[in-house]
Amino acid sequence: MEAHKRKGVPIPIQPFTEEPLRLLDEQGNPVVDFDPEEHLGLSPSRLVKLYEDMVLTREVDRMCWLLQRSGKAAFHISITGHEGAIVGSFYALRPEDWINGYYRTPPAMHVRGIRLAEIFAQLMGTALDPLKGRQMPGHLGAKKAQSFTYGSGVGLAHVVGMGMARALQYRKTGGVVVTYGGEGSTSEPHFHSALNFAGVYRLPLVVMIVNNQYAISVPRTQQTAAKTIAEKGKAYGLPGFYLDGNDPLIVYHVMRQAADRARAGGGPALIEALTYRLDPHSSADDDRKYRSEEEVKHWWERDTLKRMRHFLTLKGLWDEEKEEALKERVRLDVERAVEEAEAAGLPRVEELFEEVYGERPWHLTRQWEELQAEMQEQEGGH
């Protein structure tokens, strides 16, 4: 989350376009003439780091799948395919900003300053997990990383994030809140309430919709009859930007402008980043029931990682050798993190009873005593 230098003339962007905004085409070639440093404020080294973080995120995700398949994690819900939208948007934020993520953000949370070992600890529910093993995999958040803890109910991040933005506005911190959700989350009442309140109070809120075209099996067209998700901003008097979410640079660029506008008091924004879920919905899903192999293949060919790599290569910032070295480094980091996470052991039972309220009320004390007696009996082998 290190603050980065900002410079240059930003490339202008418009809300409510019919086609997604992009800087890179599907192969990764620039569609307009731009200089990342001058126009986006992304230095060559940061550009490279952005790519490296996308690759690391993908590798974290692959490791999550492995841990799930080997029974060490109860469940996994994948980020694969969404890295451009998620890592790209994380890069646009400042230290004073907050995020309210969703189940696809955890593998990228190292970008927000959460350690890899903590990411895996959350996945496996070990004692190193900032959430103390209280939540299923896919729910990582950490106060130190200014990342709220996601709570499973689709859409709630938007309405709670709206309240967080109201607090930042009240305290005049200059911070912005970015909430995340899939396009399915726009159907929930929470999206509606969040955008409506944000519009009325001109809150420093950016609602980031990662539109991967399915909500489990339900296709985007059955989710809403709106032409684009971005267009929903009109219902609340705020701009909606429709982006190619597999282009990390347009995501970065639009998020930065939307966030800066919001922090300056210009009010909230809605961003729709169009992408595709390359994996099944989760480890509990069978996506062959509702979509074709060809469709999935079509989108693998447009994978955001490839696009970014191609662009870096074009710019002379990347080659095969660097790619190999990166892969190796990442593999080691990931493996070490998993080991550390596993070594941490189980969370403590008594803490369950201590952290329902700030002070434990008498009835929870009694229930804890009941449980202790029960555990003793179980250990005693009765």
Partner: protein
């Protein structure tokens, strides 16, 4: 009779009702092509078409509001809420509309809808895939609440619920879907609402339970049998209205009462049964009424086994009811 698991029995009930009453429609998130995330509605869209069995947007408020509106116009909607933990964005149409329309309209309109939803823990699902919030329906006058514990009951009670002229919340323990098998009657099979099932006859302690806890209680009964304690187990099947007579009748013999349910204890359905007995038949009680329940906390993930009532907890509860433990 064919052998079915819980999921098949539910599907059989839906198929039967869809085939026999064109007022029946089935919908929810992913229930169409995908057949539901637990595959309960698998094949139904193919068989009955997209007008009868269909997907909805990701919005429980829309799902339940739509169900209410369809029901007051004379259809019999069966709405699936993917996990009962996710019902709450749609609690208002259920609480403020479905439960009150018959009354408030002076009986001009009524709401023959069913809300089916998986509930319950011990599935590695953490806070939001494990809850048992039946109390939050059972308190609402105008709703009925049904929780089956066997495949045969699942079918018979679901058919009865669909045919009922009032709104029914029908909760299915997700851990039972594929874990439990038994013979289930083919075709017409109705288990009337409001009647408990005697799961096991016994002399010493009456245990009132429902849903998956029926099976945990049976295991505890076997264990306790060896210690010379005999349980009379009642599976309520319907929580609202519950079978008060069956409870009192059994208590006349045992004089001891334990209620087993996995929901948090305070203001729970278990509390209601305890209160009902303390009010209607305190004289029958030879010892304390014991609630064996989950704890008053959000449902944990990693340590869920310490949350869920288990054989040890049930056995200890029985012994407390017998004043063998403090």
């Amino acid at each position: 009779m064919p052998v079915m698991n819980f999921a098949q029995a539910l599907r059989d009930a839906l198929r039967y009702e869809l085939a026999h009453d064109d007022a029946v429609v089935v919908f929810g998130e992913d229930v169409g092509k995908r057949g539901g995330v637990f595959n309960i509605t698998e094949g139904l869209q193919e068989q009955f078409g997209e007008e009868r069995v269909f997907d909805t947007p990701l919005d429980e408020n829309g799902i339940l509001g739509m169900a209410v509106g369809m029901a007051v116009m004379g259809l019999r909607p069966v709405a699936e809420i993917q996990f009962v933990d996710y019902l709450w964005p749609g609690y208002d149409p259920l609480y403020s509309e479905a439960a009150k329309i018959r009354f408030r309209s002076g009986n001009q309109f009524h709401v023959p809808m069913v809300v089916r939803s998986p509930y319950g823990g011990l599935v590695g699902g953490g806070l939001y895939h494990s809850q048992s919030p039946e109390a939050l329906f059972a308190h609402v006058a105008g709703l009925k609440v049904v929780i089956p514990s066997t495949p045969s009951d699942a079918k018979g009670l679901l058919i009865a619920s669909i045919r009922d002229d009032d709104p029914v919340v029908f909760l299915e323990h997700k851990r039972m879907y594929y874990a439990l098998k038994e013979e289930v009657p083919e075709g017409e099979h109705v288990v009337p609402l409001g009647k408990a099932r005697t799961v096991r006859e016994g002399e010493d302690v009456t245990v009132v339970t429902y849903g998956m806890m029926v099976h945990e209680t049976l295991k505890a009964a076997e264990k306790l049998e060896k210690e010379g304690i005999s349980l009379h187990i009642l599976d309520l099947r319907t929580l609202i209205p519950f079978d008060g007579d069956a409870i009192l009748h059994s208590l006349e013999r045992t004089g001891r009462l334990v209620i087993v349910a996995e929901a948090p204890r305070t203001v729970s359905f278990a509390s209601e049964i305890a209160a009902f007995v303390a009010e209607a038949a305190v004289d029958l009680l030879d010892g304390p009424v014991v609630r064996v329940t989950g704890w008053d906390m959000p449902f944990p993930f990693k340590l869920e086994k310490h949350y869920m009532p288990n054989v040890t907890r049930i056995a200890r509860g029985v012994k407390r009811a017998l004043s063998l433990l403090p």
